[in-house]
Amino acid sequence: MRGARLVSRRLLGVVPVLAIVIVGTFFLLEASSGDAVDAYLVSTGGDRGLADQLRRDWGLDRSAWARLALFVSSLARFDLGWSVAFSRPVVEVVLERLPNTLLLMGTAIALAFGAGSILGIVAANRPGSAVDRALSLGSLAIYAIPGFWLGLVLIVVFAVQLRLLPSGGIETIASGKQGLERAGDIARHLVLPVAALGMVYLALYLRMMRAGMIETWRHDFVRAALARGLPRRQVVWRHIARNALLPLVTMLGLQAASMLGGSVVIESVFAVPGLGRLAHEAVAQRDTPLLLGVILVGAVVVIAANLAVDLLYAWLDPRVGAGPETAA
């Protein structure tokens, strides 16, 4: 019940958000110097007639409003339009890349969340201890590392020097591998980009979890639980950790967007054909429908992630959706 109400309220709020995103993105690109034809001519050159003809072919001779209206009306038919840079429907192009990004982001966030929260609990177990100092400083240092730089270093060390892992791509190209073998191959390819993308979040979760644990320690119910004679271990894991986890779960939703942003750089460093890189290409190619498509699909991913997080949160925290207590 609670879940259903949550979902419907979220979905209703999505429409204006998406409308703002679409119009904002559209006019941002509209305000840019150079259009899709300029971007196209970079690699080919061509005379004025060619440029004019391309603009006509691609509908760029129409007014911005007309093109926006066209996009919106096709959107109403669940059609994301035509990518001029790829000469293919935007949906096709975007959906091709989406799984890779989801895989990369999902793995990174899951590992970062798992490892980060567990290490955070460990660090908070004895604040100020050597383990805590090491974890805290280490995480702070990792938190300060630029992801792209980390990616470069990882490639040099693990792919080039040690030759342990592939330097990029999402799987061995045209390998013909199937089933488990293919999954293993993809996993090997994911190790480095996931590390470069997720390390920062791991550090973040570690720090948040540690702070949350220490904060929760101060709560009355912890003191009360100990006063009732519950073993410390049990209090830490069952009560403190679970409560301290709640703000981290909230963060998860917000992070979907920031990770998508981070994947722009990571995907380009590791040559992962994903949404982030596609967005970069779309901007470079001034491919407005494509960028809108990417951002729209990205927004849907972010919104879906938020929804999932909300549901997860509602499951973890029974207070959600119950409304505030009545005060007289």
Binding site: D220, A224, A227, R228, G229, N243, R319
Partner: protein, 312 residues
């Protein structure tokens, strides 16, 4: 009465950390099995510290001066098993994201209960909540303040302790609920033979609960004794003032109410004399010079130089 002594304090004091002033100092009193002690004091007086010290629940890093002994437990009490503790804030002392039944069962299991979930329901019934099975499935936020405090009470009892300490357990509740809960606590203590320490700022509430009363003022024990004696024949002017300040349903409208002028001194201030002297109608010069000694028996007396019976 030569009942078994559960806890004995001798010149006991507590400092939360080395640099801080004593939160309570120089307390000597003892509590025997089956007794009900009401500890009365204003905010910041040190009454909660006294309760925590008696429960053996002082936070790490605090130091105890003097002696606190638990002869009946053979050493410091085991939390939950020897002493059950109910905290002031009914919403804060429960884990907000766990069903209350699970919390009860968890504590019962920790104390070796073989069938904790059945026991949880029994405990809920014991604190007189309606529909115990359904209540067991509720989350804390789904209960009212009074119901939550009953659950907290049940949690304190889940380890079958012999002593119960309720620290302002009813103050956050409104008077109707407060009264019912206080009555329940007394009933439970009577039926289970529990020893009770009930901390409150309301002397009238204490009057209805305790067999004995201890009055705490500004980190010092002002007076202690059997409830009847303290209420009818207070030996400390502060106790007397508290009694006079009580507003019952019979105060005449329009007249000025009884008031104690002035403020309690900052506990951090080192005062040479009696800490109540500045507000005391009976104070004499010596009161401002030296701290009064204890007059009367250890468990029946006051920290005042006034001769016994003077305030009657």
């Amino acid at each position: 009465m030569t009942a078994e002594v559960l806890v004995r304090l001798a010149g006991a004091g507590v400092r939360y950390s080395a640099g801080l002033p004593a939160a309570i100092a120089g307390v000597s009193l003892s509590l025997a099995r089956g007794e009900r002690l009401a500890v009365i004091g204003e905010s910041g007086s040190g009454k909660t510290t006294l309760a925590l010290a008696m429960a053996g629940l002082l936070p790490a890093g605090s130091t105890v001066e003097g002696r606190i002994e638990w002869p009946a437990f053979g050493g410091a009490p085991k939390p939950g098993r020897d002493v059950g503790y109910v905290f002031q804030d009914p919403s804060g002392s429960l884990d907000p994201v766990m069903r209350v039944g699970d919390q009860l069962a968890e504590v019962a299991a920790a104390h070796g209960d073989a069938d904790p979930h059945v026991n949880a329901v029994e405990l809920i019934a014991q604190v007189e909540l309606p529909d115990p099975v359904r209540t067991a499935r509720a989350y804390p936020h789904e209960l009212s303040g009074g119901q939550r405090q009953r659950i907290a009470l049940a949690l304190a009892l889940a380890g079958r302790p012999s002593m119960l300490i309720a620290d302002e357990a009813t103050s956050a509740l409104d008077p109707v609920v407060q009264k019912k809960l206080a009555e329940l606590v007394v009933r439970l203590c009577r039926t289970n033979g529990l020893t009770l320490v009930f901390v409150t700022h309301d002397i009238a509430l204490a009057a209805g609960l305790g067999t004995r009363i201890a009055v705490v003022y500004s980190a010092r024990l002002a007076e202690t004794g059997p409830a009847e004696r303290v209420l009818s024949d207070p030996a400390h002017p502060y106790t007397k003032a508290l009694l006079e300040s009580h507003l019952g349903r019979d105060v005449p409208r329009g007249a000025r109410v009884h008031a104690i002028e002035g403020q309690p001194p900052d506990p951090a201030l080192a005062l040479p004399g009696c800490r109540f002297a500045l507000r005391c109608r009976h104070a004499v010069a010596t009161c401002n010079r030296s701290e009064p000694g204890w007059a009367g028996a250890r468990d029946d007396g006051a920290a005042c130089i006034l001769p016994a019976g003077m305030l009657r």
